[in-house]
Subunit: 353 residues, 2 copies
């Protein structure tokens, strides 16, 4: 530690090998490098909190998705919240809180070119006013991509009518826990799927769900029957975060002209070959619709959504759950909580207090 | 034969066992039963031509789809065109041509209850005016479900804008050959996938396609690359008749906000477990949409579509291809042409001249 309590070195959690299936510790390396110098016109961020998301697993694969892969030998890309550590840019003063697409490391350099890019990229990278939130982590959870995903996914993409039934997989997860609450507000009948009794208890107690279905230890046939029993007329909407057997069971229960929002397919991200959706024949039988959703589609409406979400959080209408793990040295086990189903709510890695 | 040239017995092609995967001859039995008596208020049809369709394979499975399964021991359900053989109903006189959902048999009984049902079910079952068509088989091809499927699938469901690219699988098949011609009329750039050099020649020579892709002997990787080379900006629309590897290759080439119409998945109908769509993750990356299509959705517009199609056929703007196989005794090998890719255009079984 330096005399101000800051580390003298920059710890970086590097991707050194592309995972084959499930990531293993040897795919990563924690290294120490010098604290980076402040570039002309740019600044250096001290990262405090990093978002751990299923999307990061995709970025570790060699192919482009909606973002290029993480380079081998580079720190793992992550949304972070941090403070300006040193700056040569008049708009970013030391101590300012900032949000950005950075990496799992103590310090991130933002050169002048990237400052421009940050400004142009809209809502995801900006200075933060942390005075009105209980914790800066809110910008990675309720005010972050997951909160906006729940907001736009429900209100703009699925648009439930009162009395319609919505089935949500990964319902106790970061997105699912918010989807439940916003869907219920719209008068939809909410059915959540999660793993384990405690998560299922939270679904109905805290996350707005009318019915909780525990998928653990159930065959696909049993899961199909349990959804059918919860929604005898079929499910009008599916908010899909998981994929695989759970999506296949949803497909078997889709109502006539039902709509399936594909938000994520976390059960697939560590698979060596994609499973996809085996029961798409039922899309034909039911004249149903399955579509991909990216929150960045709604970038123009982020401010409006943020104001609405802030009001809901302040009123307590919508609650946000965070699962905060500590320490860059724990980045690997913390990240793997996403895939074991260990986390409830938004998974965050604390890098510094 | 009776003295009027009609058979004295009713040959029926029965389903006697549910196929496990690919149908085999022992799943069926050709039997002779007495020519049925005319029921009070009903009539008896002498079937002349039967439609052989992928959907029939689905009806042989034990589960309900959009229609109940064919009962074991019953003749295989089929759309047929025939003439009234004997009648106790003043609206149906002997010699009238009729279209209906009947079966692979010489004679079909239509009791009075079913006459009402026929009338209520709209366009698919009705008396026919065969005077204005070159052959009554046109009511199973161009004026039948496949013609209407091409019409509504392109014009109502996909709605191509001029200059957009449409990828069609099974492009030399009954539906695909019509989709190519109607899509081209709308100014879409048409890419067809079919199996073999001769079919591919027909795609560009006769069926309206700008580019033909032969899938035979190609790996999925090669197919993905060939589509990408034909549509460097991605395909805006997919008209999917096949499924499996071909749908997966289409998914890899879908453009931003592309739309995928699922009309059929013939590669799956004989599979023991569904393959589905493995690359649906790309629906998320491209914010694309995949939806099921049934022509019966457009039943209210059948008359209007029929008039438009009649004009196109008369002008020669749209041509219809028929593959007519002969004889109830050949029902099994004729039906299997659908799955071996042997047929070009609409497959029809001639039961009587």
């Amino acid at each position: 530690m330096g005399i101000d309590g800051e580390p003298l070195m920059n710890r970086q959690f590097l991707l050194i090998r592309r995972p084959q299936g499930e990531p293993v510790p040897a795919d990563f390396q924690l290294v120490e490098t010098p604290v980076p110098a402040t570039p002309p016109g740019g600044f250096v961020i001290r990262n405090h909190f990093a978002s751990l998301d299923p999307a990061q697993r995709g970025w570790m694969d060699p192919h482009d998705s909606y973002m290029p892969p993480i380079a081998l030998g580079a720190p793992v890309r992550a949304m972070t919240v941090g403070r300006v550590h040193a700056s040569d840019n008049p708009d970013y003063a030391p101590g300012d809180w900032v949000l950005g697409l950075n990496a799992l490391e103590d310090y991130t350099v933002v050169d002048s070119g990237r400052v421009d890019l940050l400004v142009r990229s809209g809502g995801f990278t900006r200075k933060l006013d942390v005075s009105f939130v209980p914790s800066p982590t809110m910008f990675l959870s309720g005010f972050g991509a997951v909160g906006l995903t729940g907001y736009f996914g429900v209100l703009e993409a699925l648009r439930p009518k009162a009395g319609e039934t919505m089935l949500v997989s990964g319902a106790a997860g970061a997105v699912g826990s918010i989807v439940g609450q916003i869907g219920r507000m719209q008068g939809a009948r909410m059915i959540g799927i999660a793993g384990g009794a405690e998560k299922c208890r939270r679904l109905t107690a805290d996350f707005g769900y009318d019915i909780a279905i525990d998928y653990k230890g159930k065959s696909q046939r049993a899961l199909i029957a349990e959804i059918a029993s919860a929604a005898p007329g079929g499910v009008d909407m599916v908010f899909e975060n998981v994929g695989g057997d759970i999506l296949d069971a949803a497909l078997m229960n889709i109502a006539q002209r039902g709509r399936i929002l594909l938000c994520g397919l976390i059960s697939e991200y560590n698979a060596l070959g994609p499973v996809g959706a085996r029961n798409i024949w039922n899309l034909i039988v039911r004249q149903a619709n399955m579509f991909g959703f990216l929150v960045t589609d709604y970038i123009e409406q982020y401010d409006e959504a943020g104001r609405q979400m802030a009001q809901w959080f302040a009123e307590g209408t919508v609650k946000v759950e965070e699962d905060i793990q500590s320490g860059l040295e724990n980045a690997y086990p913390a990240f793997m909580r996403l895939f074991t189903g260990a986390n409830t709510g938004k998974l965050i890695l604390k890098i510094a207090d």
